[in-house]
Amino acid sequence: MNRTTSLLTGIIGSFALSVYALVIVPQQQLGGLQPQFTDDEGKIVDISPIENDGIVKAGRAVYASEGCIYCHSQQVRDEQNGLDIERGWGVRRTVARDYIFDNPPFLGSSRLGPDLSNVGSAKWRNEPENEDADHKPAKRNAKWHLLHLYNPRVIVSDSNMPSYRYLFTKRKISGQRSIEALDVPVEDGYEIVPKPEAKNLVGYLLTLDKSHPLKEVKSTAPAVAAK
């Protein structure tokens, strides 16, 4: 009986230690995190991060549903832990506060594609800085993202990202060609337009920018003005 008691005590005790150290204490440390408020003479002029509403919320649902996370991370490591910043994926490491409104957070553990923490920022790049000008892709705006989603290989010839053609519809042109129609070859009289899912996803991607200065982390680039 003695040995059984010590066995069970050991098992329960070790579990308690494990859950305490790796879940409960981190939650106590981070659970109360609030957005950073910047005030100017008593008036709040800036809040970061902000809640995920509207298109961001809808786009996050598509991001989760299509499993983007299995190839794209959303975490920038500091200079001691890899070259994420040199690679142009961000100007500072991401910290716990960046994710307080993300339910769930899309940290990701695999990079078959680039990190997307700051893909909506104008500074984001996925090419070495000294690359020849003709290899540089166009500005990554909504049009670029939609085309890339529809067929990544139109933009990056050897990309192994899947096409998400099912997030688009082919329909007969009635009257004017839609301004949303993609510039891809399609039979006469038809056009390819994004479904709401594709628009939400791209809308979300364009808002992705975890480079706002926070007091707990130093930025390698000059502070960006609040939007």
Partner: protein, 490 residues
């Protein structure tokens, strides 16, 4: 009654504890037949599904247009479906079957009311099926490592509760005392798993859990699934099968005991290495790295013990299918543990994090170690349940060929591709897109390797089916690769 009548000293307990009259043993085996066959055959169906999903995912990584226009089969859904089917379908159900059979034998009790176990298995699988359908329909939780929706997870937990309760009751009513080392590992596995699974889901569900803590809890649960639940079941199995088949007690019971306590203390603390370098407090990662290093004590004790137990009996690897699979698994355990230790170090992790190296490690533990040990156990247990021996040693041999060479090749490719990608990306001038184009070549090799694994599984599945239909060699003598004694004449 020999073992019960004499008071065994600790060192002989190991050998004697499983040594009781054949008639009693047969009765205990018979009492486990229904539920264990149920768990094994269902696990086989999940293994078949995992094999197919894994193949699709592997092909999609080098041919991204493959099945890409069907939303249910897009890579971002196939991949989590694959890992969940492999873990909660194949690995968990086969593990429950093996754990039940081992506990009944080692505790020397017959299984009563087997319907409870089968009900538990049904609940688990209804929940899991619904969970996998949700993932493929795009309705997962979106949280990596915890994709199965909470409703499905709750059903799975109810089913698990019934199975674990019944299994632990066998321990409670044991007529064999003191407990054998395998029993310790099994009880630890059974008690740990539901709480980690439930805690991670609670962290996802409860309001006020900060974003990254959800990820940390999920990482912790996934690591515990591999390093506590799967590892403990497979080690319990290896500690039973190796001494049993080579007919010699475990080398040192004290060593096994030290190994167990370091295992239970440290392996549950290693989870945060999965988020190394990420937006979580640095001390959590440091704690997990320290635990990974201290776990070396466990790795060394288990390895030394199993190697010294095998000493002088390595020829059994040529004869006995059970030993060939189980010992392969044991070697994979040593390899996986050592690689896991080194890759947890910050200087190594920063290069290998986010590459296929992590994927390689998952397959080293779940496939090369755990699944191979379980294959060995099924080769041992099934004849004792159905009353006939495996039909063909060539089929076992082909299964081993596919699983060991195919699986080994796939893991080697993933390890190598991870290291090469990581080192290439350590140069900031290297273009990410070009490095990824190079890694596509490795993915083709991975598909070839996984096809070999699939072939092995197909043959194993057929052989398993023949056993269920009682088509095999007459019972009594186990089916061996080569008769024992042939080797010595050379």
């Amino acid at each position: 009654m020999t073992a019960a009548a004499t008071a065994p000293t600790p060192t002989t307990t190991a050998a004697r504890s499983v040594d009781y009259p054949a008639a009693e043993r047969a009765a205990i085996d018979a009492s486990t037949r229904g539920p264990v066959l149920f768990f094994f055959s269902n696990a086989m169906l999940w293994l078949a599904l995992a094999t197919v999903l894994g193949l699709i995912a592997s092909i999609q990584l080098h041919s991204p247009t493959f099945l890409a226009d069907i939303p249910w089969l897009t890579y971002g859904r196939i991949w989590p479906a694959y890992t969940n089917v492999l873990s909660f379908g194949w690995a968990s159900l086969s593990g429950m079957g093996v754990a039940l059979w081992l506990l009944a034998r080692l505790c020397r009790v017959e299984v009563k009311l087997p319907g409870v176990l089968i009900t538990g298995g049904v609940f688990w699988q209804v929940g899991l099926t619904y969970g996998i359908i949700s993932i493929l329909a795009g309705k997962s939780t979106g949280l990596e490592w915890l994709e199965i929706p909470t409703g499905s997870a709750a059903l799975m937990l109810v089913g698990y509760g019934l199975v674990a309760l019944w299994a632990i009751m066998l321990f409670g009513f044991r007529s064999q005392s003191p407990a054998y080392i395998s029993v310790w590992y099994l009880i630890a596995a059974l008690l740990w798993f539901p709480w980690t699974f439930a805690t991670a889901h609670a962290a996802h569900l409860l309001p006020g859990v900060s974003g990254v803590v959800q990820s940390l809890a999920a990482a912790w649960a996934a690591q515990n699934f591999q390093n506590v639940w799967l590892t403990a079941i497979a080690l319990a199995t290896a500690y039973y099968l190796i001494p049993k088949v080579i007919n010699r007690p475990i080398h040192s019971y004290n060593l096994a005991s030290i190994g167990f306590w370091t295992f239970i203390l440290f392996s549950g603390l290693t989870g945060a290495t999965r988020l190394s370098g990420g937006p979580i407090p640095a001390w959590v990662v440091t704690l997990s790295i320290s635990a990974s290093i201290l776990l070396l004590i466990h790795i060394v004790t288990v390895s030394v013990n199993l190697i010294l137990t095998m000493r002088g009996n390595y020829h059994m690897v040529y004869h006995s299918p059970t030993i060939r699979f189980t010992f392969f698994g044991a070697v994979a355990f040593m390899l996986a543990s050592v690689i896991g230790l080194f890759s947890s170090l910050r200087s190594v992790d920063k290069v290998l994090h986010f590459t296929q190296f992590q994927n390689a490690q998952m397959h080293l533990v779940t496939y090369a170690f755990y699944s191979m040990v379980i294959f060995g156990a099924i080769y041992y247990i099934l004849p004792r349940l159905v009353g006939c021996e495996w039909l063909s040693s060539s089929m076992i041999s082909l299964h081993f060929w596919g699983a060991a060479y195919g699986g080994g090749m796939m893991i080697a490719i993933l390890l190598f591709s991870g290291i090469s990608t990581g080192l290439s990306l350590a140069d900031p001038e290297a273009s990410f897109i070009q490095v990824m184009e190079v890694s596509n070549v490795y993915q083709i090799g991975r598909t070839i390797a996984w096809s070999m694994v699939a072939l092995g599984h197909l043959i194993f599945g057929l052989h398993f089916l023949l056993m269920l239909l009682r088509i095999g060699q007459p019972g009594g003598e186990p089916t061996l690769f080569a008769p024992i004694g042939v080797e010595e004449k050379h």
